[in-house]
Point group: C2
Chain length 247, copies 2
């Protein structure tokens, strides 16, 4: 049986991890997954992720690619890998893909959701997966600001200075702000994202929500092409990678 190229869909609670990417001596999602797969197949495995989520960021739709040289049928892989993972990571799906599948480059769209809890009492059962900001947020103004992100634009003002990529133009298909009682959800769907881009967008929208900036300033901030023009970064724990689409 030839080695198979397997595309995994992974969910994780990122609150206990130093992010996706493997780092020596640190607990990471890629590290936990690599260990589980190596234990299963009894040999080396290299797991490539589609998105390098930061420390504290969770996912309900991360995608990873791994070459598996084992007689285990593909339909049993998700369950078999999951059985070797800690309770806060799960492989939801495993499907075979052609050789040469580019898990990073072939991704067409990604959706990130950011959750803010605005109620007065700290939400202890969700505190690992939201930003607790006990303030009145003008979600209509935030939604207006969010609409100005939509389109093919230069997001250099919203990229971490650690992101050294020259091309900072990205396409945002939607940036929706919705309130449900004490929660504000910000959904950002794009073709790809710069480092810290969603969290910097959220931090800026929150400045609009508390009345510190006007919604229409988003256009000026984009034009500035300078990180200092935008608002502060929002905390990692509110962010969740919801899905990645390849077609």
């Amino acid at each position: 049986m030839a080695p198979r190229n397997i595309k995994l869909t992974i969910h994780y609670d990122g609150s206990g991890y130093h992010g996706w990417q493997m780092q020596p001596g640190l607990k990471t999602i890629q590290g936990a997954l690599t260990e589980a797969i190596q234990g299963l197949v009894g040999g080396k495995a290299r797991v490539a992720g589609a998105s390098r989520t930061d420390a504290g960021v969770s996912a309900l739709g991360q995608v990873a690619l791994v070459e598996i040289d084992s007689p285990i049928p593909t339909e049993n892989l998700a369950r078999a890998i999951t059985a070797r993972l800690p309770a806060d990571i799960v492989v939801a799906e495993a499907v075979e893909v052609p050789r040469g599948f580019d898990v990073t480059g072939a991704a067409k769209r990604k959706l990130y959701r950011y959750t803010i809890f605005t109620g007065p009492v700290r939400p202890v059962l969700q505190i690992r997966h939201c930003w607790h900001l006990p303030r009145k947020l003008d979600s209509a103004a935030m939604a207006e600001g969010g609409r100005l992100f939509v389109g093919k634009k230069d997001f250099k003002s919203f990229a971490s200075s650690a992101d050294k990529r020259e091309n900072t133009v990205r396409t945002i298909f939607r940036c929706d702000v919705a309130r449900e009682e004490d929660r504000v959800y910000i959904d950002v769907e794009g073709d790809s994202f710069l480092y810290n881009m969603v969290r910097n967008m959220v931090g800026t929208l929150v400045e609009i929500g508390v009345g510190r900036r006007d919604a229409e300033k988003i256009s000026e901030i984009l034009e500035a092409r300078n990180r200092t023009a935008a608002g502060p970064i929002a905390p990692a724990e509110g962010l969740c990678l919801m899905w990645i689409k390849y077609v």
Copy 2:
């Protein structure tokens, strides 16, 4: 200023704690709260809880009593204590009550909620606060069984053998089973509860839900007055103490 008797309403994520009750060398809710209050008032404090929740059990409405001898106004206490607590515990409310208030004995009603997740994929973001049981549950049959718990009955069959209290008669005002998509919620409201009583009731209702027992057997199990007549105990992490009423 005379010492005040303060009633605290507390929320906590119990997943990282060895239960409510203080134990030397172990991380407990009562221990964390005592430490926070002692740090605030700069002296000894004795925190008495209304319910001794087990390791892994959470609360959105635990109640505790503490005597505070400090000039801090009552209306600032919840915030001041919370500032000294870890992120997974919060004091939602602090009110003064008369001397002699019996936080355990004066409780009239308590509501516990048990959450079961029945979907196939492990719910990583809620895994600390539910029982993941990826099976088809007949929630209508469970609801039928739940109704047989309602009333003033002897719950000896549902008490842990570690509970040495002689009076095992308790009043259950309601035991409702509700399904919402992949979740089954079991709400049990009663005047007071024996040790492990709700988790043993849930374990038995799940046996009904998977078709291993008939709903009407609940009456026979109650009559048996024997722990071995009931089903196995449900895991702690699905249980949450929702509120305690004193009037």
